[in-house]
């Protein structure tokens, strides 16, 4: 895929985090009580056009409703879907609308409506209309999916706050790209500052499974 690009230095920010790729990405929250994924996802969204944000009712109860003042200057169109079927339908309608900058859909658990066909449809529609689609899974397991990129994102301890050493600093995330089409998978600890993702010192460049090997 990326033959023409020069090979990135090993410690550089991974390619998927350097540009916006209009495709279906699946994002697994490490835990429903961890919304670090939102901080990881939001910088990757183009703010010039509205965002369709679909939430399932169960997800709203468990991990809260989107709160616009905390999202910066994003235009949001919020859909509160009754169940996963409605949520997937709304996402597909949104993905076909090129007036949106992105579609974010949160699904709770492993609903029956979310099968390979549904994800595949989203992926194809997203690539046709060039609207990035993010399928966020809260408390679900990674089974068969048509998503082009699959992330597992957890919050990581924040960086030192130079103004107040007791206060949380710049947020960091532990992002695990465990399946990607056209990109090497990997695991990085990243922070977002002044418009770009940065690797946090001491992480990156680790091979897949290295952590498991070390703990074994």
């Amino acid at each position: 895929m990326q033959v023409s690009d020069p090979p990135p230095p090993p410690s550089a920010v991974p390619l998927p985090l350097r540009g916006r790729i209009p495709t279906l990405s699946e994002l697994f929250a490490a835990s429903p009580r961890d919304s670090g994924w939102a901080g990881f996802l939001l910088p990757q969204i183009d703010r010039s056009k509205p965002v369709l944000w679909v939430q399932e009712r169960m997800g709203i109860l468990e991990s809260g409703r989107v709160y616009p003042p905390g999202l910066g200057q994003a235009d949001i169109l919020h859909v509160e879907a009754r169940d996963a079927r409605d949520a997937l339908w709304a996402m597909e309608e949104g993905v076909r609308c090129s007036a949106l900058s992105a579609v974010i859909g949160e699904l709770w658990g492993d609903p029956a409506a979310l099968d390979f066909t549904a994800t595949r449809r989203l992926a194809v529609a997203s690539e046709c209309s060039h609207v990035p689609c993010w399928l966020v899974r809260l408390g679900g397991i990674a089974n068969l999916s048509g998503a082009r990129m699959r992330w597992r994102v957890a919050s990581a301890p924040s960086l030192l706050n130079v103004l107040d050493s007791r206060a949380p600093g710049l947020p960091t995330w532990d992002a695990d790209l465990f399946r990607a089409r056209g990109y090497p998978p990997g695991r990085w600890t990243v922070a977002h500052d002044s418009g770009a993702f940065h690797l946090v010192a001491g992480s990156g460049g680790r091979a897949l499974g290295e952590e498991q090997r070390l703990t074994a």
């Binding site: 919304s35 709160y67 859909v79």
Partner: protein
């Protein structure tokens, strides 16, 4: 409808049709007769008489309480149903409907055929209707209630032999006129106007009533819309009972409506499809759009599912498609090449989502001037209805076209806000070093979070102009646990603030 109350009562009663029944309402001195059946009328019962007087004539009368409110509701429904003949229908008094049929009669094959059609249709649903068509509303009122012996002549000639009470005057005025020997409208009209004007002044102006009946003075229908909403209607040869009828009718009505909208440079914001059933009931389906539209494909797609769900009951015999909320929409060429326009595409997306999931499920943020986090960010339906717009205007926070999703600038925020907020703050158990100090550890949903970093407090005082005096202040803390998960927790109240016991802790938001 001279016998509306009795006929409505008769439909739901078990008594034999020839029972001498009177319907009564409570008056100052006991029950007063409101309506009578034919049998009761034959025994001397009259409308407006006291029940005791009528019982004196015939003790066998059966008195049943009347239901004027129910009659009124029925009349309202009938008025809606009568829109099958004309778009302009007004409820006239407790037992009458007034239709503006100017330019309508030829659709039904002339005035006589229209009259017959109205009588027949009302007869089918079991109501007696007396129908009159006249050049003025007052004359129609008179002729419907007092049949003229001279049918088919000019208006003045038709009205002349009628009793003066046909002018809709008060009972006192009628009595005075009778005492003066002026029994008919003809006799009244023959008098010089000046003498009449001198004798009858104020509210009971006989000249006015006469002029209204003869068309010398305008009498507009109340609720007359300046421009009636764009409307397309379809009458079926015979009732359609199959489920697809409404959908098929829609396919034929939409092009008609679109032509009318185009002619008037309007776009529909809300569309209603009314199905008129043979039994005199009307069912409706309506959809709203986020942007004025008159594109047939889009409108058909929005209304199609709802039309298919209309219950035909005993069968539809007419349909009407009304754009009851429109906005100006000039003739616009989208583009020479097939390039989708952002605003329009977004509006269509909102329409489709709102129609399928419900307008209240598809919303956009609406900032609100408040310091309380849950109140500072409200939501409005993306398809804003007129009611919603009114509310927005009151706060004067809502400007610009309804499609613009960009919100007005929010209140100056003091601290950072989380990206997610729980609808209700959830109570947590907190361990802290000192009562006023920083939290150290908390339990949320049965899991312990050790706090590694904390920032705060950000104090938000209660809005005393909105809340009760017992509302407590909130101290918000931004905390991070050892795993790096960041939360927004607050302590409600202070120790010894005199507004309750020990302060409670809540978790309110999650940071990204």
């Amino acid at each position: 409808m001279p016998a509306l109350a009795v006929e409505r009562w008769a439909k739901s009663s078990d008594l034999p049709p020839d029972a001498p029944v009177v319907l009564t309402v409570e008056g100052t001195h006991g029950p007063i007769i409101h309506a009578v059946t034919k049998a009761a009328a034959g025994r001397g019962a009259r409308r407006g008489a006291r029940l005791t007087d009528a019982r004196a004539l015939d003790p066998a009368l059966i008195a049943v309480p009347a239901d004027p409110a129910g009659d009124g509701a029925l009349l309202q429904r009938l008025a809606k149903w009568a829109q099958r003949w004309s778009p302009l229908v007004e409820v006239d008094g407790p037992d009458g409907l007034r239709l503006d049929v100017s330019g309508v009669a030829h659709l039904f094959g002339g005035e006589a055929a229209l009259t017959q059609d109205v009588i027949d249709r009302f007869a089918v649903i079991g109501l007696t209707a007396r129908v009159a068509i006249a050049p003025t509303a007052a004359a129609a009122w008179a002729l419907a209630r007092f049949p003229s012996p001279r049918r088919g002549e000019g208006l003045v000639a038709q009205l002349a032999p009628l009793h003066v009470s046909a002018l809709r005057l008060g009972p006192d005025t009628v009595r005075t006129l009778e005492r003066l020997g002026l029994k008919t409208i003809g006799a009244l009209a023959a008098l010089p106007r000046l003498t009449l004007a001198r004798r009858f002044r104020g509210a009971e102006n006989v000249i006015d009533a006469l002029d209204r009946a003869l068309g010398r003075k305008p009498e507009p229908l109340t609720g007359l819309a300046d421009s009636p909403p764009p409307r397309a209607s379809l009458r079926l040869e015979e009732p359609a009972t199959h489920v697809e009828a409404a959908e098929q009718a829609l396919d034929r009505l939409i092009p008609k409506l679109v032509i009318e909208l185009e002619g008037r440079h309007l776009g529909a914001r809300r569309l209603s499809l009314h199905g008129f059933r043979v039994d005199g009931s009307v069912v409706s389906a309506s959809v709203a759009t986020a942007i004025a539209s008159r594109e047939p494909k889009h409108l058909a797609r929005l209304l199609g599912d709802k039309a298919a769900a209309l219950d035909p009951g005993f069968g539809f015999d007419a349909f009407a498609l009304v754009a009851d909320w429109t906005e100006g929409l000039g003739a616009a060429q989208e583009s020479l090449v097939e390039e989708p326009s952002g605003t329009r595409d977004l509006a269509r997306l909102i329409d489709r989502l709102s129609v399928k999931l419900g307008a209240s499920a598809v919303r956009k943020p609406q900032p609100f001037e408040s310091y309380l986090p849950e109140r500072a960010s409200g939501w409005v339906a993306a398809v804003s209805s007129p009611r919603f717009r009114g509310e927005g205007d009151q706060r004067s926070r809502w400007r610009g076209p309804s499609v613009a999703l960009r919100a007005p600038p929010p209140l100056q925020m003091q601290g950072r806000r989380p990206s997610r907020l729980l609808d209700r703050p959830e109570a947590i158990a907190v361990i802290y070093a000192t009562p006023e100090g920083l939290p150290r550890r908390f339990v949320w949903r049965r899991a312990v979070h050790d706090i590694a970093r904390v920032e705060g407090p950000e104090r938000i005082a209660p809005e005393w102009w909105r809340e009760r005096s017992t509302a407590r202040l909130r101290d918000y803390y931004r905390v991070e646990d050892h795993a790096g998960r960041r939360y927004w927790i607050f302590r409600e109240g202070l120790i010894g603030d005199g507004r309750g016991g020990a302060p409670n802790w809540y978790l309110h938001g999650l940071f990204g």
